[in-house]
Symmetry: C2
């Protein structure tokens, strides 16, 4: 079940040689002008752009993370676009991580799990606040899960860092719960579990401590690139006994720095891209994904003795 | 802003004389046979049922809570059904609480807020794990927010109850954050804020303590009825200085006990309802909502001296 997910993910990472995950967070105002001109509705524009990103990134990235909010924003039309985008991602051989940060219980949680399956997702992101029973329904339908543990946004500190009676922070406590929950979903050959954790690249000072608590978890690491996370930040979160990218225990995700690759030079984004043709923007995305792959690959490859 | 939400909610509660919120969690297998027979697809069946529930409950309930998972489970077709159901709820004068338990940051949170607005929601439920900045985007578009503080499911304890260094539990800490966040969105005449809290009916032992921390919050209270919460449990969570149902600071939600009102006698649910006609099941729902209204009204009305 989620063991199948983790084995497939490791295989995909090995095949591409790097744990790069493209964050697909399409925002209408930032799309290339060529895409917006050719699309009749906002939902059609984000769909067309997303399909173009998938094509450009598929040779480089083993996985794509689809941000549900960007599609839900356009209601049922946006949701239908997301269905087609997820379907195309699978056709292109990409692992699909449904970034929905869902968190409910009972039949509602089971329905969210069905929704993710229907979408063709391989894994989902989930919030831990309602307890382990909010995670289990995903595992029961063989989805991988990435539980929010320590996120990259500065504003998360008031909730995630206060210390419990044993001196450990709330995020550390959640990490222990995730680690325990993951034990039954572990691929022993890989030493990795189908229950992973979201740990922000900008939290690298805590990264090593969280890795010690969660030795079997794949860390889905947002915040690389535009949010300031670097390859050094990633290094602190690797599994110490890794032999290569596939069992390094990380999946590094970048969104803005890949899908809007123009240097953010203070120029109004609309201006930056208005003269681009379809070929141009896709080439720029492919190049950005390659740059990130190379940076990350260097970071996760064990040093030769 | 969210002040408008809280004023409208209080007005709706005063008009109906009771803070009953119908939880619309339609599950295909539990729908009346008449509805299933008449509907071509699962999404059409839950839509038809939901519209019938709204009609039956509107004379009694000031608000409806729409469980997003039950609609998302059927993909874009389910989402489109949810759009029509929310639209109909507004036509019937019901306040619409979008029970989506969303929790994201930055542009994603803003997109979730837009999605809720597009749906015609008056308020949304939200998870606090990513910090206050995950709540603010909803307030910025004038949505009310009910933040998950202490939930009714037994499995929430490992996350919500561990004590911080000051001896208070995690939920208590979140309550303080919610209370602070709510100060800028307070209707002074009512003494209530547009930032509310989800506090389960089954957590009444903590209810009074949470009320002390969150004097201005409307408690959205799930767990009444099928999950075991009673009118006595509600009483512990009322605002002490209330003058009536409208400023009692609670919105009590029940789902299964209202929308599937047949006594759960161990009989297979399908069997219970197969002989019902459309008129029958709607009458049973209206009666169940009235019973709940009367139970809750007695509990929230201040004792006469």
């Amino acid at each position: 079940m989620p063991r199948v997910f983790i084995a497939r993910l490791a295989e995909a990472i090995a095949a591409k040689g790097s744990p790069v995950c493209v964050g697909l967070d399409p925002v209408l105002e930032r799309l290339p002008q060529a895409v917006r001109n050719a699309s009749g509705t906002p939902a059609a524009a984000i769909e067309s752009f997303s399909l173009g990103v998938l094509e450009a990134a598929a040779p480089v990235a083993p996985a794509v993370k689809i941000q549900s909010a960007c599609f839900e924003r356009y209601g049922s039309a946006g949701y239908a676009a997301m269905e087609r985008v997820a379907s195309r991602a699978r056709e292109l051989g990409l692992m699909v991580i449904y970034d929905a940060k869902r968190g409910d219980i009972g039949i509602s949680a089971r329905h969210y799990a069905e929704a993710a399956k229907n979408l063709g997702a391989d894994a989902i992101t989930a919030s831990p606040y309602l307890g382990p029973e909010t995670i289990e329904p995903y595992l029961e339908v063989a989805l991988g899960v990435f539980v929010l543990v320590r996120t990259s946004n500065p504003g998360s500190a008031p909730v995630q860092t206060p210390a419990l009676m044993d001196g450990r922070g709330v995020a550390h406590h959640i990490a222990r719960i995730v680690s325990r929950l993951g034990q039954d979903h572990r691929d022993d050959a890989l030493g990795l579990s189908g229950v992973g954790a979201v740990v922000g690249a900008t939290q690298s000072s805590e990264g090593a401590a969280l890795r010690a608590v969660m030795p079997d978890q794949v860390f889905l690491i947002p915040g690389f690139g535009a949010q300031g996370g670097t390859a050094d930040d990633i290094r602190a979160m690797l599994r110490p006994d890794r032999t290569g990218a596939a069992d390094a225990g990380v999946l590094v995700t970048a969104s803005r720095s890949i899908i809007y690759p123009n240097p953010d030079s203070g120029v109004e984004p609309k201006k930056q891209v208005q003269n681009e043709t379809a070929g141009d923007w896709q080439k720029a995305i492919a190049a950005a994904a390659e740059r990130m792959r190379d940076e990350i690959a260097a970071a996760v490859t064990p040093e030769r003795v």
